[in-house]
Symmetry: C2
Subunit: 272 residues, 2 copies
């Protein structure tokens, strides 16, 4: 099954557009986990077990693992999710971007070593930097388009060409009309800019959008859904990380995470 | 000593603008190394030992290590270079780019875990995605500006604003006038576009430029030097990877690598 098929199935089976972001910061872990040698794996896999029936995807952020020499725990986490929750695809949030021969190595890292179902990729280096990812036709390739951070406007909001189109719109157009030849692409569009989600949706038809910025970053659920959902009431992977992961601070943290995940999923579903 | 000071010292001491790129592909290793458990470390450290007095920097490309679960060998390689060749700084070529809290994790990976002296960073997400790197004031932060691959033009060559400035020029301007508050920044500008190297040099004054694309990618040394050198005859880190690494195919590969590194350094120096 391709990533896009997995995602569509998860949208239906779990009645959810919620992507659970796995950004493990040991300083915020419950006390009983802090000194475990595999604390990162235990924390993330227990969160995954507690929320898998409420999510359309999991999104581990590789920087949090790499900063702590925990690549082995990331491998184990993805293998765990595939084994226990095969209906929920895993997006490796890596935002890689490099020339062809190096991108091939990064694609081996993401798709062969980690067995991710999809990966986030930076478009700044253009089409040939994306092609080695596209060669894995079953996998999802999620290009950065309009990011939710304050500096996102520095380049992405620049008007290009005749001055009618912003750079992020050009990225959306290129992905939709040139790069997505196998129907495997998606885009990152931040929730802090609903008008821009609507503009991207207009450009890309039913292509899935990964939307960070709900919760800790202040994005609005109603506005995001109104702007971004497809006519089928899907088309979105709305990411929440910290609000779910650190909802609880003690041994019951998984129950707290589940409660927030359920509330978030249900709040999203109100507007589908 | 800051990265910029290390680099300036290496330019003088080794009379070299050559950056030796360490992109280890085991399929191209000499036969006697192929089955060694630490083949990647051995290959790269032996290349480093053979070329250290001819180089202004080493640039390991992290993707080649990550694709093969060889993070420990990358750590060992950088520690080896620091111990044996303290005059030659190490640039970790990682092209990371993410929001502030995640960029902090990537900066821990590059500067604390790997102890790199500088890192390559993607500017697409804007200023706040770069700030966590800049917080390490003695480290080098090398922003992608104009890359040497065919798709580099897809976004970087778009005209922005009033239509007089290309996106890569805007990146050069932002780095030079806004982001480089501690004098630690540099830019990546590909050797395949000498006119654009000249334009970037005009914008950024004496800021160092990392120039890939010599050798395997076809860039011209004379044109690169004419366009990019500063009035002091420096200002450039001209990268060569494959032409040096795979110059020889047998047990004498380090001598072959040294010969090509010396020829390349000397060819560069003809035009300083």
């Amino acid at each position: 099954m391709t990533f896009i098929e997995q995602l569509s199935t998860a949208w239906q089976t779990n009645n959810s557009l919620l992507c659970v972001g796995l950004d493990p910061d040991p300083a915020k872990f419950p006390a009983h986990l802090k000194n475990a040698p595999d604390a990162i794996f235990r924390f993330c896999s227990e969160i995954a077990d507690a929320t898998a029936d409420l999510a359309c995807a999991f999104k581990p952020q590789i920087a949090y693992f790499a900063a702590r020499r925990a690549e082995d725990q990331l491998e184990a986490l993805i293998a765990h999710i595939h084994e226990k929750h095969p209906g929920v695809p895993v997006i490796l949030d890596a935002k890689r971007g490099d020339i062809g021969s190096t991108a091939e190595q990064y694609a081996i890292e993401a798709f062969e070593r980690y067995q991710a179902d999809a990966v986030t990729v930076n478009p700044y280096m253009g089409r040939d930097s994306v092609e080695p990812w596209l060669a894995y036709k079953d996998k999802g390739v999620i290009l950065l388009c309009r990011t939710s951070n304050p500096g996102g406007s520095d380049l992405q909001f620049q008007k290009v060409g005749s001055g009618e189109t912003a750079l992020y719109e050009l990225v959306a157009e290129k992905v939709a009309t040139e790069w997505n030849t196998s129907g495997q692409c998606a885009l990152v569009v931040g929730a802090t800019f609903p008008g821009e989600i609507a503009r991207v949706r207009q450009i890309v038809g039913d292509m899935p959008l990964l939307v960070p910025g709900i919760g800790a970053q202040g994005g609005d659920i109603e506005a995001t859904l109104t702007a971004g959902k497809t006519s089928a009431g899907t088309g979105l992977m709305i990411n929440s990380s910290r609000a779910i992961l650190y909802a609880g601070k003690d041994e019951n943290y998984t129950a707290a995470a589940r409660r927030v995940a359920q509330e978030t999923r249900d709040a999203i579903n109100l507007w589908r």
